[in-house]
């Protein structure tokens, strides 16, 4: 705590710097310069991307004996992508899945480039599609950050038509209250006579009246805004999506491609390969929703062809390790985890999560238990079987029934699972316990009085007398 003299002018920059809050140095309270804990980047107070990332990202290596068709190194371009940041575990370039909570449990704060994710789902629900659509929306939103001519992301959707892309979730614009507020602010910012007459005092002055010592940034000062924005070195890394809204405008043909399923899955791979080559330098998000769903995939596809397709998807991730991320969803009702085909499919993925909706009885119990706190009600277990890179290193990261999820309007919540306690039963038990205690005390207190009362015809009267 420090104090000013009465004569000092408040807001004098020279004196402010002497008090400990040096705005010129960017040391603004709350403006943490590094998005990655424990890692410092030079020049993070500017909007430019850190220059030191490339030195920490694994460089291309000498080619192995039979590595054919290796694409040219596009790592440098990708590092300038607004949706790429280094993994906090391995420093490898990582992209967001479109769900910040899913990013968090993957350890890397996202999915490292050159990795594939398998989302398995039990039952008739379709939470996996929600995640996959957010994954797509994230790519489209990042693609639209630049000018129309400078596309940085390309989506490839396998097995779906263009109608699928029209239902991607749009950006979350805040609650209704926030939206109203923003409309008011927008209206006020317009140049009109009434706005000029009723122009309120600058917000900063109000802030200074309340707590001059911790005065906020001057919103009109571009330098201050610059410093404020640097609180996150990767402001466009991930966004929040509202699943009740749609992404407007819908993805254009230069942003997304739909690869139909053909009788030979090898042709699908060839088509994907061509598209990736064609969009060299862009970040490719490859999506394979509802894999092996009989409505989309012909029943005549053999296991060999299925596994070859999956193996080739892995080959693509390795071939274009600096450009591509893949997400595939599989319904476990059609292909349970005990099925050897599913086991082999899992072998070719870098990351595996399973969405397992709660059993109806368990869901009832949870609803009953958290009736007073409905926010705690979740919808199912989220099991993890593989984490990108770490599982391949040999770490055992299988986590079953350790996390649970809830699909909300604006985010896909993931929490640690805890066994719900039925509050009513617990309360009843407590009440019963107390009643029993009271009853015991009561009967005990009466025991002296009631001795021989059974033989006393005036029992009721006696009690009354005692009570009175």
């Amino acid at each position: 705590m420090s104090f000013r003299r009465r004569g000092d002018i408040i807001g004098n920059p020279q004196q402010v710097s002497g008090v400990g809050v040096n705005r010129n140095s960017g040391a603004v309270p709350g403006a943490i310069p590094n998005a990655v804990p424990g890692r410092s980047f030079p020049n993070v107070h500017t909007q430019s991307r850190p220059t030191s990332i490339s030195s920490r990202v694994p460089q291309s290596i000498s080619s192995p004996v039979a590595l054919t068709g290796k694409p040219k190194d596009t790592g440098a371009n990708i590092l300038n992508h607004p949706g790429v940041k280094p993994s906090i575990l391995t420093s490898q370039p990582t992209v967001s899945t479109g769900s910040s909570e899913l990013d968090k449990i993957l350890g890397h704060q996202g999915l490292p480039l050159g990795c594939s994710m398998l989302i398995e789902e039990n039952g008739t629900t379709d939470f996996a599609t929600v995640l996959v659509k957010k994954f797509c929306s994230q790519g489209i939103v990042q693609n639209r950050l630049n000018n129309k001519d400078q596309n940085n992301t390309y989506l490839i959707v396998v097995g779906m038509d263009s109608s699928w892309g029209k239902n991607l979730p749009g950006l979350y614009k805040g609650s209704l209250k926030d939206q109203k507020k923003s409309k008011i602010v927008e209206a006020e910012s317009k140049l009109s006579v009434s706005n000029l007459v009723n122009k309120p005092l600058p917000k900063r002055e109000n802030d200074l009246k309340i707590a001059w010592r911790y005065g906020h940034l001057n919103k009109d000062d571009p330098e201050a805004i610059k410093i404020h924005n640097s609180s996150s070195a990767y402001p466009d890394y991930n966004h929040q999506f509202d699943i009740t809204s749609s992404l407007i405008p819908a993805p254009h043909s230069n942003e997304i491609a739909y690869v139909p399923i053909q009788s030979k899955l090898t042709n699908v791979i060839k088509q994907i390969d061509t598209l990736v080559n064609k969009n060299n330098g862009k970040l490719i998000r490859l999506i394979v929703p509802s894999f092996l769903n009989p409505i989309i995939y012909p029943s005549t596809i053999s296991n060999i062809e299925i596994l070859k397709f999956i193996k080739n998807l892995k080959s693509l991730t390795r071939k274009y390790s600096n450009e591509i991320v893949i997400t595939l969803t599989l319904n476990l009702d059609l292909y349970p985890r005990e099925n050897p085909l599913t086991t082999l499919i899992e072998k070719f993925f870098d990351c595996i999560i399973e969405l397992k909706p709660f059993d109806p009885k368990l869901y009832e119990l949870i609803e009953r238990s958290y009736s007073k706190n409905p926010k705690r009600i979740k919808q199912g277990f989220l099991n993890i079987y593989k984490i990108p890179i770490l599982s391949d290193l040999g770490l055992n990261l299988i986590k079953e029934m350790e996390y649970c999820f809830k699909n909300g309007k604006r985010n896909f919540e993931i929490d640690e699972w805890s066994i719900p306690v039925d509050e009513e039963t617990a309360t009843d038990n407590n009440n019963n316990g107390e009643n029993n205690k009271l009853h015991q005390q009561h009967s005990h207190s009466h025991s002296d009085i009631d001795i021989g009362s059974s033989s006393n015809p005036m029992q009721g009267q006696t009690k009354k007398n005692v009570e009175f």
């Binding site: 192995p64 039979a66 296991n303 060999i304 080959s315 050897p340 082999l344 072998k347 290193l393 040999g394």
Partner: protein, 270 residues
Amino acid sequence: MSDAQQQELAIFKDNSIIPDGLLSSKSKTLITYVQGTSPGWLISALVENLLFNTFILAHKPGTQKFSNIKSRSKVLLVSFSQDYKFYDKFFRKINVSNSNHNFKFLDLLTSTMYDDGEGDEILKKIETTIEKEFRNDYSDLNVIIENPEYLLHTTPLTTNMLLIFLNKLHLNYANNLIVISSSDKNLLDFHAQEESSIEFKHTEFLTKFLFRSNLIMNIKPLDTGRANDVTGLLSINKGLVGYQTDEIEIVEKEYLFFVAKEGNVRLFFR
């Protein structure tokens, strides 16, 4: 767990991983693993031991000068499930790369994307690589093949054809043939009848190779579930075929192992 508990990996009676005597004789080793315990660290340990007769569990930069050590044999690592980039981070620690004339890596994951044949042409690539890279000097060549069973599931190749090829490879080129294969319980069914099914082919391959192996190793997670300080269990067992000399003897035992996030491994006697 403290450093005092740390143990060294020893497979044979002379406390070695691969004894010198084994390098000049023929042997087959089968390593099986399941989901949750990937064998990358064990494969790189075997490569290191075959090349330099060392196995440094926790590599400390600068403590070992592998460039000064003369390699005692040649190694070809063939992988159907990983590319070279994956192993590069292991091999950099021991100063080994694909340009090293005693070590070669053959990537059969990315190089076989558009091979539409019966699978035998992929096997042919292994032979071609050996002949090209080691130039008819196979006297001290060791071949490690990771997940050859993937060929059975992604091509029409039969189990017998694969086993015949492995036998041929062992007889003509490799002194030590080490095969790494997955053994998840969903892939194994000893009562499977349908020959084209995944479980039939997988079980047939593992069983037949197991009966021809001298050494069997298995890594799997703990039966009691995941632990923060133990990754899994490594068991070492004698194979169903003995070694040519009595001097080479396997000591059957089990280790608990822990893989850290940096990839370093610690072993503990069970």
